[in-house]
């Protein structure tokens, strides 16, 4: 982490422009996410709503980023875009060196399967399936053999300290445990990015801290983590905070790790 902190300049007004603009950033090995002038318009019964009005973001491998913004700022739309659940009306999006902004449904499904691990506010586990089966699901769609599936799912569950709960169904687990199953599921396919949407929105503060510690550890181990939240104390865990306002990036700040773990901004 230290290498990265040194190589990327801390945010000052002058330097921020460098980070904000993606001119000269070549999508590839180093930059896991690069967007150029992403726009997203919705047609709401004849009236066009501009959810995103040209967003340029570049995120390096191993960054831990929080995307913030008030409701209506376009952060959910941006998250759907980054998560390849939606495609932009205009602009380019490069994920892990591949342009995904013009892909078909099935190609996007493959990208979601291989490159993205989702963690949702409402956990989104299959209620009738065991923890193990839930974690196996991305591997099922990835075409992994059942033996390897089981091994990798077990490994992922052990990583979130749920090795002893593999046969429990979601309704037999606590909120924090459910979210950890979801994290295991997100990690099982070794994705390029872990994409979390209000991951602590449905959890009490103690459990929230527990989940944030899991994220912290993942970020420390080199996992790229992108987290959408409107809670500033949750965003404070991240090393970089991008704030959206009215469909544009209004600020983009980086900070040292000790500041982040220190608390409030």
């Amino acid at each position: 982490m230290s290498v990265e902190s040194e190589s990327v300049p801390l945010s000052t007004t002058a330097e921020r422009q460098v980070v904000l603009g993606t001119e000269g950033v070549a999508p590839g090995q180093d930059w896991v996410i690069v967007t150029r002038g992403i726009r997203r318009d919705y047609d709401m019964g004849g009236e066009v709503v501009h959810a995103l009005r040209g967003v340029d973001i570049a995120i390096r491998r191993n960054e831990y980023v929080a995307i913030m913004g008030p409701s209506g700022s376009g952060k959910s739309t941006l998250m759907n875009m980054i998560g390849c659940l939606d495609t932009p009306t205009a602009g380019e999006y490069w994920l892990n060196g591949v342009q995904v902004s013009h892909m078909s449904d099935d190609e996007l499904a493959r990208i979601r399967n291989k490159e993205i691990g989702f963690v949702f506010q409402t956990f989104n586990l299959l209620p009738r399936a065991s923890a193990l089966h839930n974690v196996e699901l991305p591997l099922v769609y990835g075409g992994v053999s059942s033996k390897e599936r089981r091994e990798r799912a077990m490994e992922a569950l052990q990583r979130v300290q749920l090795g002893d709960r593999v046969d429990h169904r979601p309704n037999e687990l606590s909120g924090g445990q459910r979210q950890r199953v979801a994290i295991a599921r997100a990690l099982v396919n070794r994705p390029a990015i872990l994409l979390a949407d209000e991951p602590t929105g449905n959890l009490d503060s103690t459990t929230s801290e527990e989940i944030m510690r899991v994220f912290e550890e993942l970020a420390d181990s080199g996992q790229t983590v992108i987290m959408v939240t409107h809670e500033s104390d949750i965003a404070a865990h991240a090393r970089r905070v991008i704030v959206l306002r009215d469909g544009r990036v209004s600020s983009d700040e980086r900070r040292e790790k000790f500041v982040a773990s220190g608390g409030r901004v």
Binding site: D106, A109, N124, L125, L126
Partner: protein, 415 residues
């Protein structure tokens, strides 16, 4: 892997909602049930007719030379009737001429018959008995064996000995509690000595083969059985093998045409009746029955398909969020499509399987309670299962395609 998962899911669904599933599957179940029942009964009848015609009336690999066909199913036009009534009788001389040219190993018998009520010293009066005058190979051709006594010899036949072999019913009716062997049975006041009793034969088409009596062709029985206009009732010819049938029939045809001086452009003025020709008529009737029998199951299956489609639409709506989750994890359209298709096919196959069991039970019950025979065929079971899967897939097509086209963002937001 998907398949096992989807089948498991469908079965779990059925288990959780037994009553709802039962009603869902009712249509398919009833459709397949009637299909199996109808096919079983038609097949049962088919076997019955085949055994009846091929083995009892005619004999295996056997054809009858007759003046007019006996086993005629279906319509006969007035023109045909007129042509038949002008035909000359089949005479003993005709039969002998045919016999002279038959290949080695071929059996031959002549047969005349009438309905007679015989009389014994114990009983007079009773049901009519089919009284036959036959030559000795008749027993072998019709596979008639005796349980007691013996059949008559060639010598007895040629000399016209007044002896008779009777069926079980005749023996029991006229000699209640008495051993009939050696006793006298009078046919039209002509006394015949009973020398044998046949094995139980059963009855076909309401005709009891245990109510017959067979005497030598040349015996005085001919006074009762001979009809000068009709001539012989039949000349029965049994080929040595199925392959020989056509050949032997051609020989018989040529002999008769020659004897009757028929020019090549003239039709036969006699009938060669094989089980094949008789069964052809039955096949026609059977096809009508099958067609009629398929209509009702078809209605059931259509209704079943509509119900399954509705249930699957409900399932898709209820599980929108699940579809969203699966899509977010990388399920492609075809994965979702396959999942719901397998589910509806499984549902439908379960219904079809219940239908097969009920249909087989229904067929057996009908067979038990009525004279209709039933025979559950393996192919009808296979067709039933395939139909179930087919109906399920067709019914699931629309709901599954709707599910597969759901937008993942909208689906994830669903409650």
């Amino acid at each position: 892997m998907h398949l096992v998962e989807a089948i498991g899911l469908a079965i779990a669904q059925i288990r959780v909602q037994k009553l709802k599933s039962f009603f869902t599957l009712l249509g398919v179940m009833i459709g397949v049930m009637f299909l199996i029942a109808v096919v079983s009964i038609v097949e049962g009848m088919s076997r019955y007719v085949q055994t009846g015609v091929a083995e009892k009336f005619l004999g295996v690999n056997t054809f009858n030379v007759r003046r007019i066909p006996d086993m005629q199913m279906g319509d006969v036009t007035p023109d045909e009737w007129r042509e038949w009534s002008r035909r000359p009788p089949v005479t003993l001389e005709d039969a002998e001429a045919v016999r002279a040219e038959l290949p080695e190993g071929t059996r031959w018998a002549v047969e005349e018959a009438n309905w007679v009520v015989p009389k014994s010293q114990h009983v007079s009066g009773g049901p009519q008995v089919i009284t036959l005058g036959v030559t000795t190979e008749y027993f072998a051709i019709k596979d008639l064996a005796v349980v007691k006594g013996r059949i008559f010899t060639d010598q007895e036949e040629l000399l016209g000995a007044p002896v008779v072999v009777v069926g079980q019913e005749v023996a029991e009716h006229y000699f209640p509690g008495v051993d009939p062997l050696g006793h006298e049975l009078r046919f039209g006041d002509i006394p015949f000595r009973i020398i044998g009793v046949l094995e139980t034969q059963g009855s076909y088409f309401g005709l009891s083969f245990d109510r017959q009596a067979l005497a030598p062709f040349h015996s005085p029985i001919r006074r009762l059985t001979h009809d000068p206009r009709q001539g012989l009732y039949a000349v029965a010819v049994q080929a040595s093998s199925p392959e020989q049938m056509a050949n032997v029939q051609e020989i018989a045809r040529e002999v008769l045409r020659r004897r009757r001086h028929l020019r090549p452009d003239m039709k036969d003025n006699f009938a060669l009746e094989s089980s094949q020709s008789a069964l052809m008529a039955w096949e026609k009737i059977k096809n009508y029955m099958v067609m009629a029998g398929i209509f009702l199951p078809a209605v059931g299956l259509v209704v079943g398909a509509i119900v399954i489609m509705n249930i699957m639409l409900v399932a898709v709506a209820e599980r929108t969020r699940e579809i969203g989750i699966r899509k977010s994890l990388g399920a492609r359209r075809r994965d979702i499509l396959a999942q719901f298709l397998v589910e509806s096919a499984t549902l439908s196959v379960v219904g079809a399987s219940l239908g097969i069991a009920l249909g087989a039970a229904l067929a057996k019950t009908i067979a038990y309670l009525s004279p209709l025979p039933a025979s559950v065929e393996l192919w009808s079971v296979v067709v039933g299962v395939a139909l179930g899967a087919g109906v399920g897939i067709i019914a699931g097509m629309y709901p599954a395609s709707r599910a597969s086209r759901l937008d993942p963002i909208t689906a994830l937001r669903a409650e």
